[in-house]
């Protein structure tokens, strides 16, 4: 029987190890190795930190890196602020059938490809788009208004794209908050603001953290939205990775960029977990 269990264990362990080893761990090590080499001549490489040096000294690269980070944090914050009241409404104010329907309505847009969602925003906001025509019709503009290709538009798209991943964890944690706890808060003389600050937000913290982590990751790693909605000045870090790999075939620099993105996202995720004293298992699993 013991040897039986052992064979079963090995049989179950093999796919896991193959998957994580061949598709996650080794490829990332390989990517790191490529990023720390420099091409000397045809087929001759030398280990050096030249790629990172280039990435950290070239103003365009560095600027894009920080811009992407800051904009992603901003997108996460905006998503949280917009999603929180709605999630609270779904979890606590709406009851029964209405609650289910509202929750479903939140999910539906995200069964559709991100490409379609971005396309929708393009139809709405471009120069010949719906909003521009509407503004002219209302007399608020006397010529077509181009609303695409700005940071604000890109932000609208980013927030839209990741909304679901904030709403779902928030609704789940808020639903588990007992109404009587809120009532007790009011009975003890609290008002709307203090109940929100002392009871509701602390209770929702796990949902806030996991929502923020996922939204941040999705914004940071987004390619479509910045490419389609953002302007020339709103280059996203993922676009630079794509350019180095596919357009310029400079894999060394591209791998260095990829590694920088990975480190940035890990640091921020780790920081958020650390700040709230939670582990990855609790937040994701």
């Amino acid at each position: 029987m013991r040897s039986h269990a052992r064979i079963g264990f090995i049989l179950l362990l093999t796919p896991l190890v193959l998957w994580l080893g061949l598709l996650i761990v080794i490829p990332h090590i390989d990517m790191f190795l490529i990023s720390i080499r420099e091409r000397i001549s045809f087929g001759v490489y030398e280990t050096s930190l030249a790629q990172y040096e280039k990435a950290l000294t070239e103003p365009l690269y560095l600027r894009t890196f920080w811009r992407t980070a800051v904009m992603s944090v901003l997108a996460t914050a905006i998503t949280l602020v917009i999603a929180f009241p709605v999630s609270y409404y779904i979890a606590k104010m709406a009851k029964g059938r209405l609650q289910q329907v509202l929750f479903m309505l939140c999910l539906i847009p995200f069964y559709v490809s991100e490409l379609v969602r971005t396309f929708g925003w393009m139809i709405l906001l471009r120069e010949t788009g719906l909003v521009s025509t509407l503004l002219q019709w209302a007399g608020l503009a006397d010529q077509p208004v181009e609303m695409l290709y700005t940071d604000a538009t890109m932000m609208v798209g980013l927030v839209y794209t990741s909304m679901l991943f904030m709403v779902v964890p928030l609704v789940t944690t808020l639903e588990s908050l007992d109404d009587s706890v809120i009532e007790a808060g009011y009975d003890l003389g609290g008002n709307g603001v203090s109940v929100l600050r002392e009871i509701i937000i602390p209770h929702a913290m796990p949902g806030i953290v996991s929502g923020c982590i996922v939204v941040f990751m999705l914004s940071l790693g987004n390619y479509l939205t910045p490419t389609m909605l953002g302007g020339k000045d709103s280059l996203w870090f993922t676009e630079m990775i794509y350019n180095q790999f596919i357009v310029r075939s400079n894999w060394e620099l591209g791998a260095a960029f990829g590694f920088m993105l990975l480190v940035l996202s890990s640091v921020i995720v780790w920081g958020m977990l650390r700040l709230t004293g939670r582990t990855l298992q609790e937040t994701m699993g």
């Binding site: 264990f9 049989l11 179950l12 796919p15 896991l16 998957w19 598709l23 996650i24 490829p27 990517m31 490529i34 917009i82 009241p85 709605v86 409404y89 606590k92 104010m93 309505l105 999910l107 539906i108 847009p109 069964y111 559709v112 490809s113 991100e114 490409l115 379609v116 396309f119 929708g120 925003w121 139809i123 709405l124 010949t128 788009g129 719906l130 839209y160 909304m163 109404d179 809120i182 009011y186 982590i213 996922v214 790693g221 390619y223 479509l224 993922t238 990775i241 794509y242 596919i246 894999w251 591209g254 791998a255 990829g258 993105l261 990975l262 996202s265 995720v269 990855l280 298992q281 699993g285």
Partner: protein
Amino acid sequence: MIPTIPQSRSFRLIYGSYVLLFFLYLALPLTVVAVFAFNDSQFPSLPWEGFTWNWFFGEDRPQIGVFHERGILRAVGTSAFVAACVAVLSVCVGTTNAFLFNRYDFRGKGLLYVLMLLPLVIPGIVLGISILVFSSTLANGIWDLAQMDIQALRPGLLLVILGQFSFITTIATLVITARLQKFDRTLEEAALNLGATRLTAVRTITIPFLMPAMIGAVVVAFLMSFENFNTTLMLVGSDAPLTIAMFDRLKEGSTPLLNAVSLLLMLGSSLLALVVILFQRR
């Protein structure tokens, strides 16, 4: 701020309209995409030129409908093939993972579990390039050793499937593990007492119990694969799946054809989602 606590009328009104606005915001882009699929014009924008089905069924230029556009149909086929492979593979591995984490205690289990979650927090593009880099290292190594060119390791469908599999498996594992944790082990023990072998017990008792989660995971994996863009973008070869094909067309300028494809996608994925929800409610 719950229904049992009285709130002023104006507060409720403002709160209600905020929620309404939010849902308008959610619905707006999709509605617009859907409506302009029926515009009898070369552009998915105003002015409205009248209603037409041509972007679905049209046979002649300039209004070739989805069902007569070879490029799009081929891309749909590619996407469906990739998605089916990814769904089957990831649910198989997800199931074995669920059993491993649920049934065995071993050294390094915690570490492996964290490692298993990692693909969710790695940006899709980085997953894509790391697999691209590694597969080409392998291909070059094999070429140096044996002068053999393994086409499968160059960008193409196999790499797309592996790339999507690498993170969708995590989701499948989480879905199936959640259900397995609810399983009552005594049922399996009863089967063993009645003379079943361990394998028979798992096959006839545990797997049927897991079925709803496994089917749910298949559908979710299929949808995620079908919609995936970032990882696919880095690994795609000459056969483009639908999202990549649509992206290429969108860059060149859009016609209502893309709206028609999008509308069909929306209908298809809502239908699949509905099936899952109904199935799980039963």
